[in-house]
Symmetry: C2
């Protein structure tokens, strides 16, 4: 491995210059005027994969932006990994808050500042460069590698999801582990492996009272008000201990193992620092659980939006006809999103007073996943990052949902290794996105070590 690692270290600057060129292509998937940039960016990534020594490199056409595929499959009797990443980026609005051009990367304070620097051009480029290091020094990889990059992650991964659901895709992408760098380190010097994501059920409720907006003077007091009733209904969904009251909601929740509990405790999470950073006087969550447990391992119920009546400046004495709320529930293993949607619907319908009509809509959902800590790929990744950072690896979970990860795991029946090198503070969907140059460099070393270690397990 020494020559591989030496090659990487010698080429840090070159790799960074190449990443800058990758970033300079404004591949914003949300904006149709960047359609040509998407193609250009896919081709750039394909060229880099070819230059790294990958074979059978090609763009896979979709109804949306092309997928980029590459493979190197000459390591007989060795495991196969699938590297996933995305070449599309978030829009840059509000542009006036950027301190430099989002598509002209700047190196400052040891960080690279630009849209996509972290999410996910910087993070996914790591693996292309570790592949190159092996190929340029040893002419081969220690295991079989497939790479798939998509250009629609920031807009819902529709084309990749469709592709994954095609029968022959399972054969094309068949692997023993999926390697993804698109998450964060627990802290910038802490080697981190993420092994769990929450799922989601997203619902919408609309209450209709009278058939038209009424004058609250002429009608108030005798006709139920949809906003007041919606408030009462939402209030009934959680209790004074911040537990969700939907009957059956917790029935299939997988409890934490003692090992996980201990791992979380060892992270020495500071509630005080967390509250201070959000400027809240007090945190609030499900009784009987710590903040990390609440964030990573317990289901939630949050209103994501509510609207009804007059919302402009000033006063208008309307008793509105309708009020509506968007409510999402983060799920944990083994809650089923469809089942939860049904329990939710039944319960809110039962709470609706006779003075109202209710419409409940299921918007979308996805399962939670947890990769067992004793999976070989997790162990290999843990050892790899520990080696590079020189510390014991911590195991984290993530409160959010990455539907494509669940899709990969389900369709390919393989564990995902979330070896993220970002930081929560990297502003990945905001102005002034950045990525530590040191994290980029370490990431390439971690990727190389992982391939080496996983090939030997």
């Amino acid at each position: 491995m020494n020559e591989v690692l030496a090659f990487i270290e010698k080429n840090y600057d070159n790799f960074l210059e190449e990443l800058k060129d990758y970033i300079r292509i404004p591949s914003i998937s949300a904006l149709s005027e960047h359609k040509d940039d998407m193609i250009k960016c896919a081709n750039f990534a394909a060229d880099k994969l070819k230059a790294a020594g990958m074979e059978n490199v090609r763009l896979i056409e979709t109804e949306g932006n092309p997928l980029v595929y590459a493979e190197w499959l000459h390591a007989e009797n060795k495991p196969t990994i699938l590297v996933y990443g995305h070449y599309d980026v978030q829009p840059v609005d509000p542009i006036e808050l950027w301190e430099s051009d989002p598509f002209e990367p700047v190196i400052k304070d040891g960080k690279i500042w630009a849209r996509g620097a972290d999410d996910d051009k910087g993070q996914s480029f790591i693996h292309i460069k570790s592949i190159e290091a092996f190929m340029k020094t040893k002419k081969e990889l220690p295991l079989n590698v497939k790479v798939i990059l998509e250009g629609e992650e920031e807009v819902g991964s529709e084309s990749l999801t469709k592709f994954l659901n095609e029968e022959n895709s399972k054969e094309i992408l068949k692997c023993d582990a999926i390697l993804i760098s698109d998450t964060s380190l627990y802290d910038d010097d802490i080697p981190t492996i993420n092994y769990g994501l929450r799922g989601l059920t997203f619902m919408e409720i609309e209450l209709t009272g009278p058939n038209r907006d009424l004058h609250s003077g002429s009608f108030g007091g005798a006709v139920a008000n949809p906003i007041n009733e919606l408030a009462k209904l939402i209030a009934k969904l959680t209790d004074e201990n911040n537990k969700i009251t939907i009957p059956g909601f917790y029935d299939s929740v997988q409890e934490l193992t003692n090992e996980e509990k201990e791992n979380f405790l060892n992270l020495n999470f500071s509630d005080e620092k967390f509250a201070k950073e959000l400027n809240v006087e007090q945190l609030q969550g499900e009784k009987g659980f710590s903040t990390l447990e609440r964030l990573w391992t317990r289901p939630t119920l949050d209103c994501n939006g509510i609207v009804g009546g007059f919302t402009g400046e000033g006063a208008k004495t309307v008793l509105p006809s309708k009020a509506s709320a968007k409510i999402s529930m983060r799920l944990v293993p083994n809650q089923d999103p469809k089942e939860i949607a049904k329990l939710f619907t039944d319960y809110v319908e039962s709470l609706c007073p006779k003075s109202m009509k209710i419409k409940v809509t299921e918007m979308h959902g996805g399962r939670a996943v947890v990769v067992p800590l004793n999976e070989k790929a997790i162990k290999a990744a843990s050892e790899a990052v520990s080696k590079v950072f020189g510390k014991k690896t911590v195991y984290t979970r993530e409160g959010g949902s990455i539907p494509i990860v669940v899709e990969f795991m389900t369709q390919l029946n393989a564990p995902a290794v979330l070896m993220g090198m970002g930081l929560e503070t990297d502003n990945i969907h905001s102005p002034n996105e950045h990525f530590k140059v040191d994290s980029f460099n370490k990431g390439i070393l971690c990727s190389a070590h992982f391939m080496d270690i996983f090939s030997k397990i």
Copy 2:
């Protein structure tokens, strides 16, 4: 009186033609491009008052639209009435829903269709024509009459309120009763006198949780959500009997007299018809009270608007920083709007959890009024409308607030006689406003009878 009544009946058609000309002036106070129309309309009304035989007719300049004043004060030892009305009208949007030009009145199905036909050109013109009938036939009025018309009723009556608060205005407008036709009949063949209006306290609550919008995946479960908390807070403001829970809220509420209760019962109000017209399966209101009692004599608490988080189409998993609601309370005698605002503020602040910051703002308010049924002016008005309609007069109250009426009563220390001739179904703030020609004609007769009867009491 016979010649006065005969004159009116002979001139029904002429009066209607004059009203049409009044209506043709598009005096929309909300739209600055109609500034010239406001002046034109004020002058039109002044000319009509002069032609009717009123004296000292003049426009009173204000910072907004002019007031129109007129008087006839030669009935020695007789009472003085002040007629109030407004010459401004509501905007006409959405114009495409009108079946005819809003400012080109059409007579159809026994109704005059146009903006202002009822509110308030048609209703206030009644009194100008009854004055004219006296003056043209008897060369005098049976009592002293002052008239004040404003051009800002639909935008908050700011100039008139300011005028009423000037010291010498009290002398100019001094009177024994204020006669107003700007409300509705209980039904189109029922002589009606309205003797009460609810008051209002309008509040706004804003809850702030975290210092920025958060991702509900990464933060949900550990940080209180301002929408959920706002819903809980609003839910706590009323109980399962739809009683308001604010401590002290009902302390000064004046209960109904037995006479009023009986009057209401005799109105044979149909809950079924009311619910059907609003398309609600069930009415809902304070336990222990009838619908009319709830509408006219009991205080309320209604959310007039609520907003927070993502309210567009689709789903966005935001845990918002803020959520806010506009909440108004209709008041009854003898609740004090300022006192209620304070009770409300103290209570919601006490309900706010430590995880949130709360800001409570008092937007505006006004007292409720009830004119005692034994007031001479009420008795005279009751007798007048009963005579014209040929039935026993019913006494109603109104759930809404007309702040200028309260202002008049307070500043002039005189009872208001709400002798409205409109109908709830006249679409006064909607497309296709209309006014029954028969109600217009009857209104002129009622006005004349009232002046005659009140002069003799």
